[in-house]
Symmetry: C2
Subunit: 288 residues, 2 copies
């Protein structure tokens, strides 16, 4: 395309078309970086994308909340654009924030809480090289975020203590698993279409056990699902209803939560509306 584009510009100048391009330049300076480093916890190289908000030169010491985002390669650009736009001076409904996108290596391993070969229809997946293998490494993955990634970001960027953890599908399962097992890590959690079906509803049962009636949670939590239950006859939607009912009935102290059901969205379009609604919900009472 690039060469084609240049050629066409040349042809265009030669044949003197109606409009003459006076200046062609890249759209904008790069504001995001991709960083690769070695994780001692995971014993492998990991890639991280970091988007830092544009800062007025008069406020270089300003500090920002950080959104840690799973499936970085899929949703990092989306969240960079969302946070940039919603924090513009003339939009101004959320604060400017740093977005840290974590790219996957072995996705199923990192985002699932237990080892399991039971698929979303409740059947064992016995294929030798099943996509479900390996699994159950979420605890180590959260340790990597807690002990290596967050300290790195805090050491290298102007961060505020407020941290959001966002994920979709297995990523949504991982953010809720994190809230249940390591609640000190983040202040707000986003779970778009979380895969509660994993291992006979392991995380749903864990929530039932951990979130006792009247317990202090002091978190903000957004969760949603789309047409998954409609399209594949799985328990996707009923799992979300159970989770929502559990949180609502137990009157948990300090838990601000919102559930959104998007029956006209698919599993893959729902991050676009879900992340938008989640950001608006987390900052619904925010004033600069």
């Amino acid at each position: 395309m690039k060469l084609c584009y240049k050629l066409s510009i040349v042809l265009f100048l030669v044949f003197v078309f109606q409009l003459k391009a006076q200046q062609v330049e890249s759209y904008k300076p790069v504001t995001s970086v991709s960083i690769t480093f070695y994780s001692k916890v995971l014993k492998e190289y990991r890639k991280i994308y970091i988007h830092y908000p544009a800062v007025d030169s008069a406020y270089l010491d300003r500090r920002f909340p950080v959104l840690y985002l799973l499936d970085g390669e899929s949703h990092f650009e989306m969240l960079s654009q969302y946070t940039d736009y919603l924090s513009r001076w003339d939009v101004n409904v959320i604060p400017k924030m740093i977005v840290v996108g974590i790219a996957n290596t072995k996705r199923t391993r990192d985002l699932t809480p237990t080892e399991s070969i039971i698929n979303y229809l409740g059947q064992p997946d016995t294929v030798k090289n099943s996509w479900m293998k390996p699994s159950g490494g979420n605890k180590q993955f959260l340790q990597f975020i807690h002990e290596e990634l967050i300290p790195y970001v805090d050491a290298n960027y102007n961060t505020q203590p407020f941290k959001i953890f966002g994920g979709h599908s297995f990523g949504g399962l991982a953010t809720i698993h994190c809230m249940l097992t390591q609640p000190e890590m983040f202040n707000a959690y986003i779970a778009i279409s979380p895969s509660f079906w994993w291992d006979h509803q392991y995380v749903l049962k864990l929530a039932d056990k951990k979130l006792k009636k009247g317990a202090a949670v002091n978190k903000i939590l957004f969760y949603s699902d789309a047409n998954e239950g409609l399209s594949d006859k799985s328990t996707y939607h009923t799992n979300l209803l159970k989770f929502d009912s559990l949180l609502t009935k137990r009157s948990l102290i300090g838990l601000t939560h919102l559930y959104k059901y998007y029956p006209t969205e698919t599993h893959m379009t729902s991050p676009m509306v879900g992340y938008y609604d989640a950001l608006r919900f987390i900052y619904k009472d925010w004033k600069e």
Copy 2:
């Protein structure tokens, strides 16, 4: 920030922190360009942003529909990200498309259909250097798009004939004005919170005159408004209701239209949800 970032990386390598960055690079290659050229119609230099979808090398001759977008400096990145994401192979609810963002020079002049100093509350704005001056140049601006911009894009990119025209606020007024006065220019129109209040509802009255009962329109049209009528007591919302009622009652032939009211969105957040809903609506029956 960039220098600060580099310094921090250096310090970080010196002091041997937990994580060592092995490689730091810009997030992705540039896929959008900014082009400046001289318009003979408008007798001034204009800046255009063009986003071209990533193309598989096996399909370099593939052709794409084009979204022409007003207020390019505000919404070009948003629509580039929306169209990229929604057309991904694993999301795939709209086709890949080219986004052409038109940056403003004299916004009120270009996007308003008539010369007027009547503000949105129906009062004359008599300030000498009023932001409302100059106004009424939309006809010439559409001529620039029709005679100069579209031929340029068609000559330089692999375009399909299908064209969408999107605008917000005065931009929404301009897209509807275009549909009413030069319907041959585009196949689909998006008007997010159109400023129908302009010049005693000039465009609303024009719609009433032009769209006769049973007339053939053969267009796709999305329009929306947000909390404007609630927050400023203007006729914003009632104008949209009138326009929607007019289109609905006249049984126009071939006009596929959708109206969305977003009472929890502001005038500036509504493009984020409106453009999303508009793209999904325009391509609701699309299958690759």
